[in-house]
Symmetry: C2
Subunit: 150 residues, 2 copies
DNA sequence: CGTTTTTGTCTACAATTGTCAACGTAAAGG
DNA sequence: CCTTTACGTTGACAATTGTAGACAAAAACG
């Protein structure tokens, strides 16, 4: 267990990271205290998660007396962009646009973000294709129906 | 194992679903054949995944003689929207916009999708706040720095 | 200095996931 | 009708994840 090859963060680990990202580093005590305001996790559980995050090299420890100060090795934005991109990599190409539209419609965005998106989109529109191909099947065989159904 | 309470799809299971969604249902033989064009999975592995998907009620079986025809119980779009929303639910509110911008910039979108987004965004802009609050910490304590750093 | 508290490490255990092989039975072919 | 093939079901096993108790060493407190 925990034998070396760093994997991705699990959902619980992610929760811990959010706190540390927000505080830009924290001691275990602090993480435990803040975490327990949101989740009913035992101290032990949170300590395990911290340990695993260190194993996975998502956290770096800085010794401060006998305790550690935990500091993220990746920025929150980078991590978020990465998981989001990975998720999208496994979605049908044809439908990614729809998923984003769905996300957008449920989201409250700042003016600045909206304006940035608008700029990006009008740039993209200039070279945008009329339609996108599906990439769910390895070959193009049998894809006729799919194109229709997508 | 597989003791009843249907969970979400695992990544491997998702791959299988993509094929079935695209074909709008398929026999195991067909899934196995198509899957093996993409992944080096044994027949057995794919059969296990099909079984688990049935356990999780993501697939419904229709008996066709001795064999089964597997049919999705959820649409691909619904499933995609759901995982994407779930992912976003665990991201810092303040930064969701940035993540979408990042996704958008790597994506090839159809004209139609872009136009739909543009419409949506200009609607949203009308009531958009200047800034979004962070929701990473349970209380507002200690959040001052965060607001700045987000 | 001895006791209590902190805090990191180890161990544990059930559930989930990735991967398969083996088995039994129905179907298909000869 | 008998053999081969196809296909669903079981069992299996290692790795990951969720969850937490126990322990040890250092610190703080009195």
């Amino acid at each position: 267990m925990e034998k070396g090859n760093a994997t991705l963060m699990s959902p619980s680990e992610w929760e811990v990271m959010r706190i540390i990202w927000t505080k830009q580093g924290a001691s275990s005590t602090e993480v435990i205290r803040l975490m327990q305001l949101k989740r009913e996790w035992s101290e032990s559980t949170i300590k395990t998660l911290l340990g695993r995050l260190v194993d996975k090299k998502m956290l770096q420890t800085i010794k401060d007396g006998r305790r550690f100060f935990y500091r993220p090795t990746v920025t929150e934005s980078d991590a978020m962009n990465k998981v989001a991109s990975e998720l999208f990599d496994h979605l049908c190409n044809m439908k990614k646009g729809g998923v984003i539209i769905n996300l957008l419609s449920d989201l409250t965005l700042s003016r600045a973000d909206i304006e940035r998106m608008q700029l990006l989109l009008s740039e993209k529109l200039k070279t945008a294709p009329v339609s996108i191909n599906c990439d769910c099947l390895p070959t193009d065989e049998d894809c006729t129906m799919h194109k229709k159904s997508c």
